[in-house]
Amino acid sequence: MAALSVVCAGTIFLYLLRESAPVFFAEGSGFLTRSDWWVGESYGAGSMIFGSFMVTGIALIIILPFALGGAVFTSEFLSPRWRLVIKSVMELLAGVPGIVYGLLGMSMLAVWVKSGFGLIDGNTIFTAGLLLGIMILPTIITLSEDALRSVPGEYRETALALGLTRIEMVWSTVIPQAVPGIIGAIFLGMGRAMGETIAVMLVIGGLDKIPAPWFDVFQAGQSIPSKLGREAAEAIGSGLHWNALMGLGLTLFLVVMTLSMAGNMFLKRVRM
C-alpha cells in the first residue's frame, strides 16, 4: 500500500513522458528554448517557461519581507497564545480556494494595478506575481517559523547572557542556524507558486510572448499551468498539440518535483 505513493508519482511521470514524446521528436530541444507557440505550426514553450519563472520570482520578491519578517516576529517575539493565533490565521489563508483568489485578482487586484500604474489593462505578469505572493505567504511563514523555533533555546540564552539585545541575538544566532530550513521553506513556496493554475490563469493575460523588453512585467504573459488550463480541453486526447501540452506538463512536473525534494531536504535537516 505504501508503494501506492511511489506508483502515483511514477505513473504521472511515465504518462507525461509517453504522451509528450512526439513533440520532443518534432521540435527537439527547441521545444524548451524557442518561444514561438502557434498550434499547427510550431511549439516553443519558451514564453510559458519564462512566464512561470518570472511570476514566481515576482511573487518571492514581493512577499519575502512579509513572510520572513512575520516568521521571525512570530517565533521570537510573540507569546505562545499569539503564536497560535498567527498560525491559525495562516492556515486559514492557506485554505482559501484558488478560484476565490482568482476572482479577487480579476475583480479587484487587476483593476488596482491597472489604475495604479496607468496601464492599458490590469492582466499582467506583475498582477499574477502579486497574487501568487499572497497565496504562498502562509506556506513560507509557517515553514520558516518552524525552522526558527527548532533552533535550541541555549543559543538564545547564551546570547542574551552575553548582553546582546533581543534583535541582535536573533540576527546573529538564531537566524543563521535556521537558514537551511528557511531556504527549504522558500523552495516549497516556489514549488507551490509554479504549480498554481486557476488564479494565475485569470489574471496573467494569456499572451504567449516574452515581453519586450523582457523585464517589462506590466505586460500580459503566460505561465505553464495557465496555458494547460486554457488549452487542455481543446486538444485533449491526441495530436501533436496534445503532445506539446504534455511536454509542458512534463517540464512543470520536473521543475516542481526538484524544488519540492530540495526544499524537503533542507527542511529535514532542521526537523530532526
Partner: protein
C-alpha cells in the same frame, strides 16, 4: 474517550447528509439516463442553451441535455473524440481538423447566420471611427498602425485584443483580414477566450479593437463598418443575409456521422419555427424557411 463520541456524531451526520442527498437519485439502478451532450462555440451557446430548455420543457421525459462552452475548437475535438454528441462551431473546419478527424465523418448542420464584426470601444466609435478598411485593420493587427489618430480617431494608443487561436470568431475574422484563418497577430496586447470575455475587455478599455459576433454589440462596444473603396458595408442583418458583409458566417451544429435519436430531434427542433424564434431573439439570423437539415459531409 470523548473524542470518539465527538467523531461518532460527526460520522453519523455525514451519513445522514448522504442519505438526504440520495433521495433524488437512485444509485441502486445505475442505469444510464440518456444525455445529450453539446459543447463548443460561445457564439452558438445562447441558441443551444435556450433551445435545450424549451426542447426539454416541450418533450418532457427523463433525458438531460448538457450545454458547455469551450470554443469551436473544443467542439470539434469533443465530437470527434465521442465526448459530445453535438458540437457547436462558428467557423469552417480547418484542413488540419479535416485530416485528423477523417474517420469521424463529421457532418455539419447549418442552423443560423451571423456576422463577425470588427468591434471598437465606444469612445473610439464616438471619436470618429465608424468604418475601417480591410487594410487598416490588417495593419493594426500587424502593428503597423498604433494610434487611433492614424485612422481618424482620437489620439490614443490602439489596444489590440486578440482571441484564442481555435475560436470560430477568430478564424472568420483572420481569414478575411489577414488572409489566413490561423494567422498570427504580432501586435496583440491581450488574448481573450469567449465572446463574453472579449466584449468585457473592449468595454473596459477606451481604445480597444477586437473581433466579436454581431449579437454581442452593446453601448460600450460598437461595430465598425467595413469600408471597401467608396462604400461602407454596415454589419446589419440585411447585409449579412445578402452576403454583402464580408465576414458573414454560418453557425453550425456538428455531429459524428448522421445524427440519431435525441440529437436528430434536437437539431430538427432548432431548425423548426420555435428554434428560429430563439435564434432571432438571440440576435442572429435564422436560415431561410425552406431549409431542411442541411447536411454537408466534408
Amino acid at each position: 474517550m470523548y473524542i470518539c463520541k465527538y467523531s461518532k456524531k460527526w460520522v453519523c451526520l455525514l451519513v445522514l447528509t448522504l442519505v438526504f442527498m440520495t433521495r433524488d437519485f437512485s444509485l441502486l439502478w445505475a442505469g444510464e439516463r440518456e444525455t445529450l451532450r453539446i459543447v463548443g462555440s460561445t457564439t452558438v451557446l445562447p441558441i443551444a442553451s435556450r433551445a435545450a430548455e424549451q426542447f426539454k420543457a416541450l418533450k418532457g421525459g427523463t433525458f438531460r441535455i448538457t450545454v458547455n462552452a469551450g470554443g469551436s475548437g473544443v467542439g470539434v475535438n469533443s465530437v470527434a473524440g465521442r465526448r459530445a454528441d453535438i458540437g457547436m462551431i462558428s467557423r469552417e473546419l480547418s484542413d488540419g481538423e479535416r485530416r485528423r478527424f477523417r474517420d469521424s465523418h463529421l457532418t455539419l448542420h447549418q442552423v443560423a447566420r451571423d456576422g463577425v464584426v470588427c468591434a471598437v470601444s465606444s469612445e473610439v466609435y464616438e471619436g470618429g471611427v465608424r468604418a475601417l478598411t480591410k487594410q487598416q485593420i490588417s495593419d493594426i493587427y500587424r502593428g503597423r498602425l498604433t494610434n487611433w489618430q492614424e485612422v481618424g480617431g482620437p489620439d490614443r494608443r490602439i489596444v489590440v485584443v486578440d482571441k484564442e487561436r481555435h475560436r470560430g470568431t477568430r478564424h472568420v475574422f483572420m481569414k478575411y483580414i489577414l488572409g489566413n484563418a490561423t494567422a498570427r497577430a504580432p501586435a496583440a496586447r491581450l488574448v481573450t477566450g469567449s465572446n463574453n470575455e472579449e466584449q468585457a475587455k473592449i468595454a473596459q478599455s477606451d481604445g480597444a479593437i477586437g473581433m466579436l459576433s454581431v449579437a454581442w454589440l452593446n453601448e460600450d462596444v460598437k461595430g465598425t463598418g467595413i469600408r471597401e473603396g467608396d462604400r461602407v458595408i454596415e454589419p446589419t442583418r440585411e447585409h449579412i443575409v445578402s452576403g454583402d458583409f464580408p465576414m458573414a458566417r454560418s453557425l453550425v451544429f456538428l455531429t459524428a456521422g448522421e445524427p440519431k435519436g435525441l440529437a436528430r430531434e434536437f437539431i430538427a427542433f432548432v431548425l423548426g419555427p420555435k428554434g428560429r424564434r430563439i435564434i432571432e431573439n438571440s440576435g442572429y439570423t435564422p436560415m431561410p424557411a425552406t431549409t431542411t437539415a442541411q447536411v454537408t459531409t466534408p
